[in-house]
């Protein structure tokens, strides 16, 4: 059992990450392939953690992989004989002579109380200073999370943006007669089944606190909005998900308000579809759009005051924006036959969407200032984009050899990753979870 990180754009390094995980009853392989990796990079050297053993090695491998996958870093090679001791002032010239610019060293150990302890330091060799030092004690089962935490701190220090390596992704695995809602680490590890049904599942959406997922499935042949807690064991014990409504017609496209108190949903009835905001407290609803067209796929701005959505008012689906109070609507997209599935970026500066130009469906971004749509992908049927909580990466559904896979693309389009699920799985409908609180 292993994960594969492969750079396929002519570079030579191959990383083999050893990791064992279980998917359902059967174990399986997660393959993540870096398929594009362009532009200027931050060089970094990550030495194996002191303390020996597989765990110490695993931590530095996870840190390297996390950073490399962003497309923003060059992971530099090292020699085995290099010192892994904490640096003193006199060590900097030596490291500089090895062409090292950013250096990560660390220590790993088992504690007497059964926990594990990891410590790492990030050094700025040119600036001759330690930029980050951090120690974590945790349950041995949380070793990957510990490594992702270190990578988050390194990423934040060197790029100025918050890291997303500890975040989770929800997605749907479709087999012949079954759909399963799964949450996994954003690197595909630790998949856990949250909910399973014979009916299709679509449009999972995380609550802002990461505690619940709203999604759409079918009850008595009609689409209905479901809400389940993310806590795997608990959701299993409590059984049935909460149903919002159901209101007559198709109920779908749930999106959480930023305060987590309500859901924007689309209700299709009498040949039209409108967006409503439903209070989770008393299920009272406020109608946002009201015309004879299709209005669906709402997404809130970070302050909850605006909603972007898809509407076929021009005869074809295009992206619109409306205010929540005193409804005033504007059309945002004009280019292309079909623009849909809009989602606000965390800072509201752009909207991610799918764009169709008569040949293929691709993921793009719409800049809210300039109105320019930039296409980031080149598949034929890219769907369901979802943006990372730091706004830097977009995960979306795609296809390879007749089955659904997830792909990742950086916001600038320079880094692309492919996530192929355990063998035979048809994966779709990814949704990126919020930042994990420390």
């Amino acid at each position: 059992m292993f994960s594969v990180f492969r750079i396929t754009n002519g570079l030579t390094k191959v990383f083999w990450l050893s990791a064992v995980f279980l998917y359902g009853a059967a174990s399986a392989q997660v393959e993540i392939e870096i398929i594009a990796d362009e532009g200027a990079k931050i060089p970094i050297t990550v030495l194996p953690f002191e303390g020996g053993g597989a765990e110490a090695r695993l931590i530095s491998e996870i840190i390297s992989a996390d950073l490399m996958k962003t497309g923003l870093f060059t992971i530099q090679g090292f020699e085995k004989k290099w010192s892994r001791a904490k640096l003193t002032e006199s060590d900097y010239p030596d490291w500089k002579s090895k062409d090292v610019q950013n250096l990560v060293i660390g220590k790993f150990m088992d504690l007497d109380d059964g926990r594990i302890q990891g410590t790492f330091w990030l050094y700025d060799i040119l600036g001759q200073a330690m930029s980050v030092g951090y120690q974590i004690k945790d349950d041995p089962a949380q070793i990957r999370r510990m490594a992702h935490h270190f990578a988050d701190l390194i990423y934040e220090k060197l790029t100025g943006d918050k890291g997303i390596f500890r975040t989770k992704i929800a997605y749907v695995v479709r087999s012949k007669d079954k759909s399963t809602l799964v949450i996994a680490d954003s690197d595909g590890h630790n998949p856990k089944e949250i909910y399973s049904t014979n009916e299709p599942i679509l449009s999972p959406s995380w609550s802002p606190d990461g505690g619940q997922i709203a999604f759409v499935s079918f009850i008595n042949r009609k689409a209905a909005v479901h809400v389940v807690p993310v806590d795997y064991e608990r959701s299993r014990a409590t059984g049935k998900p909460r149903i919002i409504g159901p209101y007559p017609g198709s109920n779908s496209a749930p999106a959480w308000s930023p305060d987590g108190k309500s859901l924007a949903i689309a209700i299709s009835k009498d040949g039209k579809s409108d967006i409503f905001i439903v209070s989770l407290n008393d299920q009272s609803k406020v109608q946002i759009t009201n015309d004879r067209f299709i209005n669906t796929e709402p997404s809130f701005s970070s302050d909850g005051k605006n909603i972007v959505f898809t509407s076929d008012r021009p005869g074809r689906p295009q992206v619109y924006q409306t205010t929540v109070k005193a409804v005033s609507e504007v059309r945002l997209t004009y280019e292309g036959r079909y623009n849909a599935s809009p989602q606000f970026s965390p800072d509201d500066s752009f909207v991610v969407l799918i764009h169709y130009d008569e040949r293929k469906f691709n993921v793009g971004t719409l800049d809210m200032k300039s109105g320019i749509v930039q296409i980031l992908t080149n598949g034929s049927l890219d769907q369901s984009p979802s943006i990372s909580p730091n706004g830097k990466v977009i995960v979306y559904a795609s296809e390879a050899n007749g089955r659904g896979i997830l792909r990742f693309v950086s916001k600038n389009g320079r880094a692309k990753l492919r996530y192929v699920g355990p063998k035979g799985d048809d994966i779709r409908e990814p949704s990126w979870g919020p930042f994990i609180k420390d």
């Binding site: 042949r221 496209a253 689906p317 849909a340 469906f361």
Partner: protein, 222 residues
């Protein structure tokens, strides 16, 4: 029904018993004729008896007439019941025939009614000219048989947004429903659902498979 027959029989029996009792009283009065000692009182009583006999005979006739009428009325009622039953049976038979007709019409392989799907262009819910005769046949059928219920299931191909497709499937199904209602089907005969792109019948990603998935199905509900 049976209760009423029993009641009628009982009334008749009671009536026969009643008239024999009156005859017995008359016999006793005959024996009194041979009592010499009280001739006067006999004469008197005969007079009285004659009067009372005449009265009771009229009463008896009236009673018998009433019973006869009652019996006739009961007979009439029974006849009506039987007629009603016959009508009901005929109706039931007609209903069965109707159901058989519905079944037969729906099971014919080569009829317009046997075609239960309407297909669409990409991102369109417009019913194309080619499917108008099928829609018309189903609309007229629903109009003719108001007890028949159907469900329209809207579907889309896999391209584009899943959520938009869910709404598009609903729109396809609703527009088909309105077309059937215009022809004469009743609103409450038709339920409408959308599966969007979630329940494809053709799994290929070629044009042929996709065109099969862009469809509304008319499902007759038993």
């Amino acid at each position: 029904m049976t209760m009423k027959l029993l009641l009628a029989a009982g009334l008749l029996a009671a009536c026969i018993g009643c008239s024999s009792k009156t005859k017995m009283n008359a016999d006793i009065e005959q024996r009194d004729l041979f009592d010499e000692s009280d001739r006067r009182s006999f004469e008197q009583s005969t007079e009285l008896a004659e009067v009372s006999e005449a009265a009771s005979e009229a009463e008896l006739r009236a009673q018998q007439d009433e019973l006869k009428r009652e019996f006739e009325r009961e007979e009439q009622r029974l006849l009506e019941e039987r007629t009603k039953l016959d009508v009901e049976n005929a109706q039931k038979q007609e209903e069965m025939q109707r159901e058989a007709d519905i079944k037969e019409q729906l099971s014919q392989n080569d009829s317009l009614l046997s075609q239960r799907s309407v297909f669409y262009d990409f991102d369109s819910s417009v019913i194309k000219e080619a499917y108008r005769p099928i829609v018309k046949a189903h609309g007229n059928f629903l109009k003719q048989y108001p007890s028949v219920r159907i469900r329209i299931e809207g579907n889309c191909d896999d391209r584009g947004s899943r959520e938009y497709n869910l709404a598009l499937g609903q729109s396809r199904a609703e527009q088909l429903k309105q077309a059937l209602v215009l022809i004469g089907a009743r609103q409450d005969q038709i339920d409408v659902v959308s599966y969007g792109a979630e329940k494809p019948i053709a799994l290929g990603i070629d044009n042929d498979s996709r065109s099969k998935n862009r469809r509304s199905d008319l499902v007759y509900i038993d």
